[in-house]
Symmetry: C3
Subunit: 355 residues, 3 copies
């Protein structure tokens, strides 16, 4: 069960610079390529002749050429050239998908083509905001996208899973949590007051040494699977809880989870910061720390998927800290119901409000 009338990230724009990219999304095999004139295209990753993955071929002009017998398919999924004959088989056609490039990501639409409006791409402007510096990558996680949503909506795990990087024990135990509904999603605010900074924050050298901080995470989830977390910390007593967030560490963690299928997910992530934005060392530090943290998550999520395959996705012991995850699941279910009932374009498609 997936939401189809929705833009999903399929790859980074940089991924498709040199060669076609093959991805399973929503159980469909898709190849993304950039034609010689620079247009992006996404079509079924299967030659209509003898079914080889087109991604094993190469871009030729405005087409992708099959690597087996050379049939050429254009961005609309139509065969336009056969090397060994002049006639084009009239049924040699495969599915093509609307695509758009925004925020450095390539977005794809798997639903009703009539509804594919790029204005509805969720807001991830921090990825390319010139006043910020963003680093990020892609993880392939053998766990369903719902489990990734849950993970990001209950950050109490940071105090257990990520104690070597972005978390510590105080973070998991002493939080104040507020959840509020937003259009098509939920916003969870999480504050930990007067706690030690986590290892990653200390390594930036951007906080006064040896002092406690007030730490916040404002998690904005929109269904089906987009999460922007504005997180950071500032020295305790300097006004962060009262709204003074213009000092200390400010990070925006950008997360777009695209289902490959029910049990595996392409996880696109980036972290943007507003300090020392031209500093390559800080780029590397943040990239490495967050990569490591997400490897920690991956280990947990994949084990959780195996457990859930065996036991079922049972929520009978939900905790107060699950408030965001539970509301997120509700939003997703409503969106699915809405799409199944044909109410697309209203309830299911929206531009996310700015955080």
């Amino acid at each position: 069960m997936y939401i189809h009338n929705c833009w999903y990230v399929i790859c980074w724009a940089r991924d498709v610079a040199e060669a076609p990219v093959s991805r399973e999304i929503l159980e469909q095999q898709v190849v993304v390529f950039r034609t010689e004139s620079g247009l992006l295209a996404a079509v079924e990753d299967r030659c209509p002749h003898r079914h080889l993955k087109l991604s094993m071929g190469q871009v030729v002009g405005e087409t992708i050429q099959c690597g087996y017998h050379g049939m050429q398919i254009n961005a609309q999924g139509r065969c336009v050239h056969v090397p060994s004959q002049k006639a084009i088989p009239p049924r040699a056609r495969i599915r093509s998908y609307p695509v758009a490039e925004r925020y450095g990501w390539v977005w794809i639409w798997t639903g009703d083509v009539e509804l594919a409006d790029p204005a509805q791409i969720p807001d991830f402007h921090q990825l390319t905001d010139p006043s910020l510096a963003a680093v990020g990558s892609t993880n392939f996680v053998k766990a369903g996208f719902r489990l990734l949503n849950d993970n990001l909506l209950d950050l109490s795990h940071v105090g257990f899973v990520h104690t070597s990087t972005i978390g510590n024990r105080e973070f998991g135990a002493n939080a104040k949590i507020f959840a509020e509904k937003i259009d098509g999603g939920v916003r969870v605010s999480r504050w930990v007051i007067d706690c030690p900074p986590p290892p990653t924050y200390e390594k930036t050298g951007h906080l006064p040494a040896g002092r406690n901080i007030d730490r916040w995470s404002v998690i904005r989830y929109t269904a089906p699977s987009f999460v922007v977390i504005h997180t950071g910390g500032a020295e305790t007593g300097t006004g962060a809880p009262e709204g003074r967030l213009d000092h200390g560490i400010n990070l925006w963690v950008m997360n777009a989870m695209t289902p490959a299928n029910e049990k595996t997910t392409h996880y696109f992530w980036a972290t943007a910061r507003n300090f020392r934005i031209d500093d390559a060392e800080i780029d590397a530090l943040i990239f490495n720390q967050v990569s490591e943290a997400f490897e920690e998550d991956k280990r947990v999520l994949e084990a959780q998927q195996i457990a859930i395959d065996r036991h079922g996705d049972d929520w009978s012991n939900a905790l107060q800290a699950d408030v965001g995850s539970v509301e997120g699941r509700r939003c997703l279910e409503r969106m699915m119901d809405s799409e199944m009932n044909g109410e697309t374009g209203q309830a299911t498609i929206r531009k996310s409000a700015h955080n």
Copy 2:
């Protein structure tokens, strides 16, 4: 189909010294841990909150703490602490198992808790007898426990599978075999008179060089899957067949096979000897030779399991040497029938008689 009202070995006591141990037994996922006060505990390896394996967490006080959101579970399988809230979810409970430590092994009971009497743990006293020296380990074998039973009950294979270690061709061909029923099992005595010693025996330097030996193996099997083999050899003509076993080589090979599931088995083994018991070189020699022999068995057993998956476990060409294996299978079937008929505590549970 498994016997449940029975103690099984789940791990060596030494395995659980540093960290929790995760094991599948009888198709159940179990974590064994030792609390800070030194108590052994075994519970379902699944957090009641979001189902992560508890073995991915750590021991905290008298509990095991989940590595995802920090829920703490005690030895009875009850949640006793949630880091992010004060209230304990009333249904946050998982199964716990009776455990006991004996002979250096941790034993677990998967059946009716009322019947779990540690006095019924089978006798493997040679593992910790101070007059003997025992070395051993655990193999994970991708074959059902019945095939491991068969292997140990028909030692004619030693003359074909183990010619580089504990066997030679004479051992497979010229044996005299006697089988007799014992309480809940079978005892098979196997003698080879006036044969060359196998490579392992020669390497001990504990036999007169260049002389033939009389070699014995007394295999005591009790259902479902315990085997103690008293084996050895003494110079031909020095009275071994008449009962003088106080010289030459005396070994006790201890075997406890715990089903992970129908097709995989945790195989706990050790070899005890009564000579040069403080000699670390002989420890290493025996350990390495028997390890190598059991790797040879593993290769055969896993191939046999694959063949049986395809062909069925057909006994239509049973040989005279299979007498022990066939009687062992009968004991197991009787024990299963008895347990299914609710006659537990009588036929199915017993303390093994000393060999």
Copy 3:
């Protein structure tokens, strides 16, 4: 669905020189061995006692001895010796198969034994013709044999898959193709006139440098899965299209595809040449180039099998260049119908005509 009344290659004669060979063919597990007196034998790869693969044992005299308990099975599949007892279990018998050695290959017959006439082994005389030099090997390909047939019958792929070895772009695009039915198969003639030689041809040094060639491939397919390709090239204008093939490069590519099962194939191949036949450097060059080309095919074929598992083996966009593949499939279907209707020995079994 397989043709059974047919000789298949099971291994090279050289493969069975030192030890038994285990192969799955037509979903049957078979062991091939050569007895001490030099006879070839093929029997079910399973001991009738406890079902271990006999190929894990060894040849003893005129038998293969099981590596578990030593039962010995002769070339007729009968147990003839049990080490641990005198009596032979009367039902200890497994299937044996007719075998024959020809052209350096071991052939096996899986069908009706009465019909197994070695005179019907297909003609691959080029493998052992003293006027030619042949090099070859075996690939295990995770794709069904039909896809391998298709691959060899539509060489337009050579211009896309093999541009680093035996193909170039001109080869895929400018061919003239003629297909004609032959007894039990199809012959496809493929000519490319006045084109550059491919990399492999240039590396032989056997063509005038910098000159275009006329290139031919005469593909002779006989069902179920035998292909001999006479291919080569000679300087343009020197009469090749008119029949003068006695100069330039002449190669015979020999292909025998034996189904392991519906989705995997043992692919036996060799390339024979009529020039510099005693030159070990040319042996190595041809072997390495063709090996590399067949690795390129393997990559494509295995991806195609995965695609077809998902999509079905749909031919709705067949091209003119598929004429040979399509006719080959028809021959195979006719042969299957014929065998299913009991018309074996007539339609389904024949000696291939010489090319």
